[in-house]
Structure formats: C-alpha cells, structure tokens
C-alpha cells in the first residue's frame, strides 16, 4: 500500500494501533505460556538436569539412583563419564551429577523436594557442604532478583519463610512474572527459553546446553595459565571471604540442611554429606575460628542424624588442579572423579 504525502498521520496511527494489538497479544501469550503452560520455564537449568536424569533412569531402570547434589563445584568437578564402567554395571547404583550453579543448601533442599514430588526419586543423595556458604544469613536464591525467578508458584511461600525480607522476595518474584524482559541470570541459554515458547516439541531438540548427559559441565583445560588462575582466584576470594570475627552458621543454612535431612528420613532416602577439594590458597582463607565453627556444627549434624560425611577438601591441595582455587580444572577432574566415586560406592557395601 503506497502512502501519499499527508496520509502519514493516519497511516502511522494505524500502524501504532496494530503494533499495540500485536504486542498485547504477545504479552498475553507469553504470560500464559510461562506461568501456566511450561512448568519449568523459569528454571530451565533444573529442568535440563532433571530431563537428562529421567533419560538415564529410563536406560537403567533396575539400578538404584544416587544423586550427587550441590553447586557449580559439583557441576564441574564430577565427570561421571570417566567412571561409566563402575556405575553402569548390573546392580551398580546409577550415580548422577545434579550440581546446579550457585546451589547452596536452600537450593539443594528445594530441588530435592521437587525430585521427590515429581520424580525420579533417588535412593541415596549426597549433599554438598561448602563451609563459607554456611555463614550466609540467607540464600543467594532469596536475595538476588535474577535467582528468585526460579521459584515455582507453589514454592514462593516457602521462599518467603526463609527470606530475611519476605516482602521484597515476594514483590520481586511477582514482578518477574509480569515482565517479559526480566533477566534470568546465571548461565542460562537464551535460545532454550526462546524455543520453549514455540509450541513445537521438535524445536526443543535443537536446544543447546552446557551439560553432558551425566550432568557434567565442561571445565577449562589444564594447565590453566597462571595469570588466568590468579584473576579467577581473586574473584573467588572476593566472593567467598567471610568476616572471620562474625562467622557463625546461620539459622537459615541450618534450617535448610535439617530440612533436607528430615525430608530424606521421611522418604527413607539415604544421605551422605561431602565437602569438595579446595586448594591450599583457598583453605588458607579460613581462620581457625571459622574451621572450628564449621567442624563443631557438622559434628552436631552427624550425631543428630547419623549421616556419614566425606571430607575431600585436602584430596587435591595443589592449586595446579584448579581454575580458581575451588573449581577443578580438567586434570583435577580426571584425578578427583574416580577417587570420589570409589569412595561413594563404599556406601553400598
């Protein structure tokens, strides 16, 4: 349609009306899809891992399922494809890496509960304990708006009960549900989210992700250049260093860990706790007071719940094995995974 001079106003206004109509429809579509049609749209990292897990369980229907839960350190340190001979034998437990970026005890608690409710339900779980996280007054998943979006509608009350500012937590979460430009944060492939809005399951297969089929996320090759290590370590240091004088296990960390242990006890799931390797650079950051606090707390938990504890912190002390003092590089992963799995398999004896 050719527009003559003088008709621009009406033509432009007509375009504007159509634009607003299409935009309104798109927003409505987005809102329905993300809030009601696609259950885990807001937590695709969890959904990816769970879907891979379901596929592994389907391949090994008779094997007992053992989940290793935790944060990015579990995600990157445990490359189970290296030990398939040990975990895919008849009657051997199916061990799966359920590490999720940034997952502290609260996040592990929420994810474990989802798995128990919707499957697959594990027979044994390993819960990662990261000393410095124990001090956090509240989970990152309650404080950071980009992480809060992961909460499901039926979980938000629980999120608020763990939050030190429930009103903030609720309002930020509600805002995320009405704002299509809200950012998700933390390593989420955008195309995953985009493709999920198109109701064609075939397209979902085109999704790209960063996990292998056993839940491992690829790590930098070794040896990592020293300047890269130093830079990454400084970032880790800034992020993880607590105020040594005020270090104490927070009420919310304790509540989350006890929540996991109570849940497992009720569901008859075996649990073990573990601490992952740390370089000497990182362990040097802990003061005696911090070490004593963490030790006495974990001793208390062990005696209250009679759970075993695997302390792997000193397994690989050399910074050579790390990218930043607490995430292993390729060489570190190669050394750590078989040793860890061997130790875990002892639980079945």
């Amino acid at each position: 349609m050719h527009i003559k001079r003088g008709q621009f106003k009406s033509a432009f206004l007509a375009r504007l009306v159509w634009f607003l109509a299409f935009l309104s429809f798109s927003l409505l579509y987005w809102w329905v899809m993300t809030n009601f049609a696609i259950r885990d749209f807001w937590d695709p990292q969890f959904a990816l891992k769970r879907d891979f897990l379901r596929a592994r369980v389907k391949e090994n229907p008779d094997s007992p399922l053992w989940l290793i839960m935790g944060g990015s350190r579990v995600e990157s340190d445990l490359r189970l494809v290296q030990v398939l001979d040990r975990i895919r034998k008849n009657n051997a437990p199916l061990i799966y890496n359920f590490g999720l970026s940034g997952a502290d005890l609260f996040r592990q608690y929420i994810c474990l509960r989802r798995l128990i409710e919707n499957g697959p339900k594990p027979q044994r779980v390993g819960i990662e304990i990261f000393g410095t996280y124990l001090n956090y007054k509240q989970s990152n998943f309650l404080a950071a708006p980009t992480l809060l979006v992961r909460a499901r509608r039926d979980e938000i009350d629980e999120y608020c009960s763990f939050s030190s500012d429930p009103a903030f937590t609720r309002s930020v979460w509600e805002r995320s549900r009405i704002d299509p430009t809200y950012k998700y944060g933390m390593k989420l492939p955008h195309q995953t989210l985009l493709l999920r809005l198109i109701p064609m399951p075939l397209l979902w297969r085109l999704e790209k992700h960063f996990y292998d089929k056993w839940g491992w996320v690829k790590v930098p090759p070794a040896p990592i250049p020293k300047e890269d290590y130093d830079r990454e370590f400084l970032m880790a240091k800034a992020y993880f260093t607590n105020d040594p004088a005020s270090f104490e296990v927070s009420r919310n960390s304790d509540r989350a860990l006890r929540g996991i242990l109570d849940l497992c006890r009720n569901e008859k799931i075996d649990v073990f706790l573990f601490q992952l390797p740390e370089s000497t650079d990182l362990t040097a950051l802990y003061t005696d007071h911090e070490n004593a606090c963490i030790k006495s707390y974990l001793d208390q938990i062990k005696s209250d719940y009679r759970v075993p504890m695997m302390d792997c912190r000193s397994w690989l002390p050399d910074p050579y094995y790390y990218t930043d003092g607490n995430h292993l590089n390729a060489t570190g992963v190669e050394k750590f995974t078989p040793a860890f799995v061997d130790e875990v398999l002892k639980f079945s004896k």
Binding site: H2, A11, R15, W18, F22, D179, K183, K187, L188, K218
Partner: protein, 495 residues
Amino acid sequence: MGFLGCLLTGRISADLIAPVLFNSVQFLIFFAVVFAAYWSVRIHWLRTLLLLVASYYFYMSWNAKLAAVVATSSLMDYFIARTIESSTGEWQRRRLLGMSIVMNLGLLFYFKYTNFFLESLGQLLGRLGMEHHMPFLEVILPIGISFYTFEAISYTVDVYHRHAEAEKNPLHFLLFITFFPRMVAGPIIRARNFLPQLKRNKRFSWARFDLGVQYVLMGLFKKMAIADRMSNLVDPVYQSPGQYSSWAVWVAAVAYSLQVYGDFSGYSDIALGTAHMLGFKLPENFNMPYMSRNIAEFWRRWHISLSTWLRDYVFIPMGGSRGTLVRTMFTLMMTFALCGLWHGARWTFVAWGAVQGVMMVAHRLFLGWCKVRPKVREMLETKLGTTLRILATYWACVLSFVIFRSQDFQRMKLMFHAMFHFQEGMEVRYPVSSDSLIFTFVLVAISHLVVEFDLWKKITPRLTPLEWGLAYTVIIILAFMMASESQKTFIYFQF
C-alpha cells in the same frame, strides 16, 4: 529490574536519572520528555535552548565536571572561529587555527593518551634497563571526546579555509558540539551540514517521526539482539584465548565482526532516528559494510563519518593521491595509523590501523596491476569474482578485527595461534552457544542483501499498516528476548 518492570511498577529510582545508554529505560523517559517539550514549544530560540539544556543534562548525567570541560573548549572554539573569520592577516588566522587545533588535540591527548604514552615510555626505559618512575594520572576519559574534538577541529579548519561561516549564535555552536543523539559516539557531523538545520524553524512531520521510529527500532535490535548477544561468544574467549578450542576462537572472531557492526551501526541508527524525530538529519554512518568488494570500499561503507573526516582533514592535506605512489602509500599508512590510534590508547589499535593501511596500499598496488591485465579485471567483475571479492574483504576484516579486539599483543598472539593451529579447549555454551552465531550471521547477511539489492525499497511501500504493526512487534520482542543478561555499554563509547 527489567525494562518493563520499571514502567509497570512505576518504580523511578536513582538509576533512572542517568540516560546515557540508548538501550535503557532511562533514555526512553529522558527522550520522551525532551520530545514532548520540544514539539510543544513554538518559539525557535526556546527550542534551541531546550535542546542545549537537554544535551548538557544528558552529558552531565554521566559526569557533571567533564561537561564543564566540553563547554569551555566549545566556547573557546566559538570565539577563535569568530576571530579567524574577522581577521584579514593570514599569519594571524593561521596562528588562531593552530591554537584551536592544539587546544582540541591537547585535551584529547591529555585525557586519552597521557597515561598510554607514559606507560609505553616506562616500558621502553625498562627494556633498556633504565630506572624509571613514570607517574600515572588519575583522569577520567570524557565519553565522546574523540568525536566532538574532531567536529570542533573540522569546524575551525572549515572557517579558516572559508568553506564555512563562523557561527554567530553561541547557543547554536554549543548545540552543534553537544547535540545529545550523537554526542558520545557519533556520527561525526560537519558544521556546514548541521548549523543550517539549527537555523530553520521546524514543523513536526509524521513521515519523519515514522522514519525516526524505524531507525530507532532497527538500532535497538542491532544493539540488543545482535551486538549484546554476540558479546557472550566474544568476551570470554578474548579474555583467555588459551583456554578455548580453535573452533571457539574462530567463532569469537566471526562473532566480533557482527558484534562491532551491530553495536556501532545500532548506535548510529538510534542517533539518526532520535535526531529525525526532533527534525534533524544526521549523515548515514554505515552502508552495509560487509558487502564491500575491497578494503577501500569497506572504508566508504564503514564508519563513513570518520573515514570521510580523515580523508578531508588528514589524507588530502598531507598530499592525498597527488604525489608519487610511494608518497601516497606513506600518506595512506599514516592516515590509517592515526585512525587506529583514534580508536583508543592501545598499541593493538595502532597495529590494527597499520594493518588497514597495509591493506589499502596492497589494494592500490593490486588495482595498478589489474589495470594492465584486462582479463583479470573482467574475471573479477563477474558474479563469481564479485562474490569472492566480497568474501575475501569480509575475512580480511574478521582477521584484522582480532587485532582490534585483543587487549594486548600477548592475547592477540594466542588468538591467532588458536585460529591457525589446532587447539583443544573449552567451547562457549552459555548463555548462548555457537549456533546463535549461525543464526545471527544469516540474519546480518540477509539484511545486507535486502538493502544492497534495493529489496527494502521495493517491499516497504507495499506493506499494510497491519504488516508494519506486526514487523514492529517482532522486532521489539526479538530484541528484548534475545538481549544479553546484563545491559552492555556501546563499544564506541570508549573511543
């Protein structure tokens, strides 16, 4: 908080005060207020004043103190140009011109290059085994300084050569330097094109407003859906090239060619669009550069306002193509080395400029070689020859951008090593994977072809309002959904 979140919840916080980033809600609010005020005022001089206040507010929202530096140097240029025009003595005119150039380049040098040269001198002395304690100046680089400095210089040079009249109205001159749509990253405008527009009283035009909206939407899309998205493939690899596989490094190199194009041409589009909405026409800064058949054409399509500035105020005054071949080559090399240095205080920029110069010289020599070989020329003019030339030019740009993007020569070496020797390592998989490069590459290629073959001009007049509305919606949605997680500043802000 998300973009719409701010609007939906009406939460106007302190961070809404700074409108410097075009792709922010702050700028949207800022521009809406300026636009409404500008067109509701009928008095011409009041409109000019309003734009001037808005432009200074725009700059001061980033750094108030440095806005004073811009104002002072602009006023100095204003008075110098007036004096040049009224002076009759050639020697005095030349002295005043020199004063203006020294002042402008002095400011540019002080803010942008002092630490760079001190550091380089320190390194040189260190290599020679001499003790040195080079001072480090705590200076903030005023955004856009490279752009408005060149504009001020071109203005006084034009007045000196009597190619332009000295502006009598100081408000007009100050607005010429600080006009906010193009203040921080160009395009570099010329006084003789812009000042006459300021003098004309304007009437609101729906056609122009519509054109402006299209420019802005296209610019936002380029910035958010192309540049910011590609930066996810680029930034981690350029930070630690040694950790990534050869494939990831090639992906990053190609992605950067798309990122820098999307970023800068996106900014230029938004600048042109907002200017159109206010009734001003700024020069086009990009014209499908990756369709260039040779490097000389690339520079006629890429950052056009800079390349024409360098041609008019550096290359031609230095002799241009008038002298011997050797002299021309020397002038070309110097011009492009300066072009590299203009981009930033880093030796990799200078090296990139030098490589551009070498490619320009090589192209000239090749042209001369082809002149006496008509069969080769005919072959190159065929469709296949043209396609191959376009591809060769594009890949030359991709490789030279590796120098441009690398923080230092060490990383540049690692990049080239990984590109030309098989290297195992990590892949970039989040938040986007290399697949998104293919999608973006195809998108940019199609857009280049559509415009190059004038399909755009054939298609758009036939579109109905419904189709326009749909196109706007798709652009907006894709831009916001494909946008990066963190709002990224424009690359050319640093220049």
